[in-house]
């Protein structure tokens, strides 16, 4: 029998591209967003949130590396959940991914528009929001290798600007530019900058601590496009996490040492403000460039990830099969890429940065809550030795329980600040699930759903 010709995504990516995708999406969180931890928990609260989120994301990276080194499929966590937890969990994870990344993309574009307008008030932020999305969409449409190589370059430069800020602050000469000792000087009648609201402030800071790392889990969206997923994904994800841990630590140290905690806690561009505090023109210029590049890299990675999740869901007919289309020349999920453009522009056009970001974070956190359950079941269904693993994460199931606990604590923190958003998001996903179970799943061709040549799971 002659097998029908098939199109597939191009397998051209290596560990550097995986690194560029993961760090590229996240690094913008060092340039803005993390500093709200300082407003909630003070300087020490921000450090605790940084460590706390670091542990949470270490668990995420380890779990992702093991499962995605086995499920070499576009869709990442969506595809993993489909094989391990079932269609409903997969459908929800697919939606979490799409909203997490589409909204983050919109938020990045909004920030680029706002930065450009600061150069001249007559420049239209909307025009630059649309240009950012148009250019990055074109890049993603033309091919994954080019778009992620571009991300590697701009992410690398953005990371180097953080290093430049560290050296510009003359960290080896404390007291000259960095004024860390002022943190230990409590002025009469003023709140203690280290911990103005005590332990409750520490808890409240957690929700913003995840800005340091939010999105690193997106690396596994490239699984189907890696030359060797079992090698590239663990190396790219782990090196990405290490890069982010270094960047987060420098960011906290330099930010809190250069800018007073009240100003820092409400700053829109904290690292740029820190650069201004050094008084050095070359540092200021570099941080301006770094801020823009980090936004571009993040939006670019988000387009890549959201489109892969949408494509994978289309291929499985969880949404219309049409979206599972592959471009015959560029080998990209072109229909998914194009479909998500008006959605990103619509969110970007609203200009509601905090609401857009909160929905993105909520979607990410819901995913983190399901990932440990996914991991524990994965080890039960496919014990060691039953299936090839490119990476085996250590101390199982301890990291899964830690992730579950930390995700729950962050949910509590978000509840205090954004309980309406939380309820709205949960209701949205509940209604979407009802639609899927009672309507959409009837249309799914189940013979196409599980085409991975895996052994039977234990007990089946």
């Amino acid at each position: 029998m002659v097998e029908q010709a098939r199109l597939s995504l191009l397998r051209v990516l290596g560990p550097l591209h995986v690194w560029a995708l993961g760090v590229g999406i996240v690094l913008v969180g060092e340039f803005m967003g993390w500093n709200f931890t300082v407003a909630k928990g003070g300087v020490f609260g921000a450090l605790v949130a940084c460590w706390f989120a670091g542990i949470l994301y270490s668990c995420v990276a380890m779990i992702d590396s093991e499962v995605s080194s086995t499920v070499a499929s576009a869709g990442g966590q969506y595809a993993q959940a489909k094989h391990i937890l079932g269609p409903l969990a997969a459908f929800n994870l697919g939606l979490f991914l799409i909203f997490e990344y589409s909204m983050l993309e919109a938020a990045d574009a909004i920030v680029i528009g706002a930065i450009v307008q600061q150069l001249h008030p007559a420049l239209s932020p909307t025009a630059f929001v649309v240009l950012t999305i148009a250019f990055l969409t074109w890049l993603n449409y033309r091919g994954v290798h080019t778009s992620l190589t571009f991300n590697a370059v701009i992410t690398g430069v953005a990371f180097l600007t953080i290093i430049a800020l560290l050296f510009g602050s003359e960290f080896w000469n404390p007291g000259k530019i960095i004024k860390t000792e002022e943190l230990f000087t409590q002025l009469p009648g003023h709140a203690d900058p280290k911990s103005p609201y005590g332990w409750l402030g520490f808890l409240a800071a957690l929700q913003f601590g995840i800005w340091y790392y939010l999105g690193i889990e997106g690396t596994c969206q490239t699984a189907e496009e890696c030359r060797s997923a079992p090698r590239a994904l663990p190396i790219g994800t782990m090196s990405g996490l290490i890069t982010l841990l270094i960047a987060a630590t420098i960011t906290w140290y330099v930010g809190t040492g250069l800018v007073d905690w009240v100003t820092l806690g409400s700053s829109a561009y904290p690292l740029y403000d820190a650069a201004l505090a050094t008084g050095k023109q070359w540092v200021i210029v570099l941080l301006f460039i770094g801020t823009i590049l980090s936004c571009l890299a993040s939006a670019n990675g988000c387009i890549n990830d959201a489109s892969r999740a949408w494509f994978a869901m289309g291929r499985d007919q969880f949404i219309p099969k049409f979206f599972g289309g592959v471009h015959p020349k560029y080998k990209t999920p072109y229909r998914a890429i194009l479909f998500l453009v008006p959605i990103a522009i619509a969110f970007g056009y609203t200009g509601l940065l905090d609401q857009v970001i909160t929905f993105s974070i909520m979607s990410g956190l819901l995913m983190y809550a399901i990932m440990p359950i996914n991991m524990i079941r994965f080890r039960r269904l496919y014990p060691m030795g039953s299936i090839k693993r490119g990476y085996v994460y250590p101390f199982h199931p301890f990291p899964s329980y830690v992730l579950l606990l930390f995700a729950a604590a962050t949910f509590v923190a978000i509840y205090f600040g954004y309980w309406r958003n939380m309820v709205a998001a949960l209701l949205f996903y509940l209604f979407a699930s009802i639609w899927f179970v009672y309507h959409r799943y009837k249309m799914v061709d189940r013979s196409r759903l599980y085409t991975m040549p895996w052994p039977r799971p234990k007990g089946y």
């Binding site: 029908q4 010709a5 098939r6 199109l7 597939s8 995504l9 397998r11 070499a72 499929s73 576009a74 595809a79 150069l119 001249h120 007559a122 420049l123 239209s124 025009a127 630059f128 649309v130 240009l131 148009a134 250019f135 969409t137 074109w138 449409y141 189907e224 997923a229 994978a312 289309g314 291929r315 499985d316 099969k321 049409f322 599972g324 289309g325 592959v326 471009h327 015959p328 020349k329 072109y334 229909r335 194009l338 453009v341 060691m384 030795g385 039953s386 299936i387 090839k388 693993r389 490119g390 085996v392 196409r448 085409t451 991975m452 040549p453 895996w454 052994p455």
Partner: protein, 63 residues
């Protein structure tokens, strides 16, 4: 930079964006009308694993 220059930049930015979206739409329409619809959605999950297994004549085993 004068307000007039800024306005001109806005127009150029809009023009580039429209140009990019125009190219994307035309290319997508060309693909839709040139290729067989079943071919465009013929991608399947697990193709990589099948290829690897065929190349190495391997059976799943642990690390």
């Amino acid at each position: 930079m004068s307000d007039g220059t800024a306005q001109l930049i806005n127009y150029v930015v809009w023009a580039i964006s429209i140009g990019i979206f125009g190219w994307l739409i035309i290319d997508a329409l060309r693909i839709e009308t040139t290729y067989d619809r079943d071919l465009l959605v013929s991608s399947r999950e697990g193709e990589i694993e099948k290829e690897i297994q065929a190349e190495h004549h391997d059976t799943p085993q642990g690390v």
